[in-house]
Every structure is written in structure tokens, then in C-alpha cells.
Symmetry: C2
Subunit: 208 residues, 2 copies
């Protein structure tokens, strides 16, 4: 019962922190959203920082669960799984009117320089995502979906950065343009071997 309730508190507060940030969200707001008395908050969390660190675990659990579902999806090629992973986050942002964005990215911008505990937790969260993306990129290399001249580890670093930047731009612009630019340039240009747009993947209209 205890751990169930803690998970419920994290679930109920996740969106407030994602949209408003960690510093701006007060304990009052958190307990109101969770529908619990303040005492319960401190029963489950030692401090607001402790809450924040456990919230990062909550966010990353959801992201990793999606990555693993994709990994086990035998109907898709390895590279299309990578694309589907990013696309899932883009669709979520769009359907939420571009509000919020990536909670891990947001907290990184806000907290990485002001709390070493947060920085380490956030670095670990990104490392967990990169591990899954890298595994899929390696599979894609083996099946010939990624040209030989691209270094897979560097590519992984690059696409995770590009993904985060696209989410940030979309959040500021309230537009899908940065998301589409990321997907089309990475998957329809960079990761094609011949750069002609005729590699078998569909080339979106209006791109040339």
C-alpha cells in the first residue's frame, strides 16, 4: 500500500513539475495535486529534493518502458523503432499543445548546475535512454540500415541531443516544424546511404 501510494503521488504531480518547473512548484501545490495532507508528503519523501529525485525515476521508468516495448516489437525494423521512439514523444508534445516537453530535459536545464544530486540523477536518466537507443542503432547497423561511415556511439549522442533540442524548439515556438525537421533530416537524409531520397524509406513532400 505504501509504495502504491507513493507511485500515485508521483503520477499526480508529474505534469505540474513538467510544465511549471521544480523551483516554481511549492509543496502546497504538490500535496493539493496529490490530494494528500502535507504530513503524508514528508512521510514518503525526506525533502522536496528527495521528491524531485524520485520524480526523475518516475519519468524515466515511463520512457524506458516505452523503449522496451518497442525493442520487443518484431513488426518493425531496428531503425524504425528508433524513429518511433522519438515520434512517440513528439506526438505527446503535439497532443498537449506543446506544453511541458521532456521532463528530463527541462529538469536538466533547470537543475544540472544548481544541484549535483540532480545532475547525477539526470545524467543517469539520459544514459538509460541512450543505452536503449544505442542497442537499436547497433541492430540497425547489423541489418544494414545505417551507413558504415557513421560512428554508432557518436550517432547515438547526436540524435539524443537533436531530439532534446527539437523538443525545446517546439515548446518555445508552439510548432511542429522543429520536430519534423529533426525526423526528416536524421532519418530521411543523414541515415540514408545515398542521400537521394530513394532508399526505400518514404520521403515527405515539400522537402526538396
Amino acid at each position: 500500500m505504501k509504495s502504491h501510494t507513493k507511485a500515485e503521488i508521483l503520477k499526480a504531480t508529474a505534469d505540474i513539475v513538467r510544465v511549471n518547473g521544480f523551483h516554481s512548484t511549492g509543496i502546497e501545490e504538490l500535496v493539493t495535486a496529490a490530494g494528500i495532507p502535507k504530513g503524508s508528503f514528508y512521510f514518503y519523501f525526506k525533502s522536496k529534493e528527495d521528491f524531485g529525485l524520485q520524480l526523475i525515476d518516475h519519468y524515466i521508468d515511463g520512457i524506458i518502458a516505452w523503449a522496451e516495448r518497442l525493442q520487443n516489437d518484431t513488426s518493425r525494423s531496428p531503425l524504425s523503432k528508433v524513429r518511433a521512439f522519438f515520434d512517440w514523444t513528439f506526438t505527446a508534445l503535439e497532443s498537449n499543445d506543446f506544453k511541458g516537453g521532456c521532463p528530463i530535459g527541462n529538469l536538466s536545464m533547470e537543475m544540472a548546475d544548481v544541484s549535483e544530486s540532480f545532475r547525477q540523477k539526470l545524467e543517469g536518466a539520459f544514459a538509460a535512454i541512450k543505452e536503449r537507443i544505442l542497442a537499436l542503432l547497433k541492430e540497425a547497423r547489423e541489418t544494414g540500415e545505417i551507413p558504415d561511415y557513421l560512428d554508432i556511439a557518436q550517432l547515438c549522442e547526436f540524435v539524443v541531443g537533436g531530439w532534446q533540442g527539437a523538443l525545446l524548439q517546439a515548446k518555445v515556438m508552439k510548432s511542429t516544424a522543429p520536430l519534423r525537421a529533426f525526423e526528416q533530416i536524421v532519418f530521411d537524409r543523414l541515415l540514408k546511404g545515398d542521400n537521394t531520397g530513394d532508399s526505400g524509406r518514404e520521403v515527405p513532400q515539400g522537402e526538396r
Copy 2:
């Protein structure tokens, strides 16, 4: 005298907000950093929000000044100017032990969803950067430095996003790896026509 002093206040407080964020930085901290009495702060700025919006102008002025210096540098090719623009920000981040990162990106993550005034100001700031990058990319297309199959407007959107994501990742990881991945994949892979690494630009070691 008045405008000179306002510029000095913005200059003296710019780094605190860049590292600690807008919400976490109190007026007390700002006036202490600027060495002014609290009353002076409210003489120059109507509110903390007004200060924040003018601080974005201060940041963007510095970035645009650098972009324009590059634009007028006749010793570089258009594409190498784009690379130098990003490289300037990467070098600044590295030399600051990866602390701070891009103030416009940080404020975007923190403020875009909580204040429409900030969001509009930040969108305008990125638009000013993109305008300069796009002009250089167009020049590069004309001089044959960018392959024909890449859409220049989309490329601009993509590289600005990728740049921001690389800065975010470097800030969290305290590592140059995301910065190098961005530079090498964009300039030595994506923007080369033949993808062999032999287009005349230097290909960094250990990349293949």
C-alpha cells in the same frame, strides 16, 4: 548615464540567472550582484518579469553581435562561419566547466510554458539567431557548400535545435562528447555531399 547603468546591471546579473535560473534568483541576489540598492532595481525595471525580458535582449544582443562579426569575416567560407558560430558557444561552455549553457535555451525550458511574455520574447530571440544562420546557409548553398537535396530552411531549424540539444547534453554530462558529436555529424557528415569524409574539410580522427 541611465541606459549605461541599466546595461551594467544586466551585465552584472547575466551569469547568475544563466546558471541558477530565473525563478531561483531573488531580487536580493540581483541587486547584490549589481552592487545597487533595491530601489535602483525598480527604477530601471518595472518588475522582476520586466528585468527578465530585458535580460533576454541583453543575451541576444551579444549572440547577434558575434553572428554579425562572423558574417563580415571575409576570410571564412559561409559554411565555416556557421560552424564557427556554434563552436564559439561550445568553447565558452567548455571554458566555464560546462556551467550555465545557453541562457536563451535555459530560459526557454524554464519559462516558455509559464509566461506567454517570456515565450514570445524567447521565440523572437531564437528567430533572430535563425535569421543569421539561415542567411549564412543560403550563401553556403550558393557557393556549393551544401548539397542540393537539403532544404535550407529545414536545415536551419534542425541545426539550431541540434545545437541547443548538444549544449543541454554537455551541461548535464559535463563532457564535450555531445558538442563534438554535433559538429562532426552535421559538418563532416550531413553537409558533405558524398559522405566519404573526403570533401576537403578535415575529418576528425576516430570518427569512422
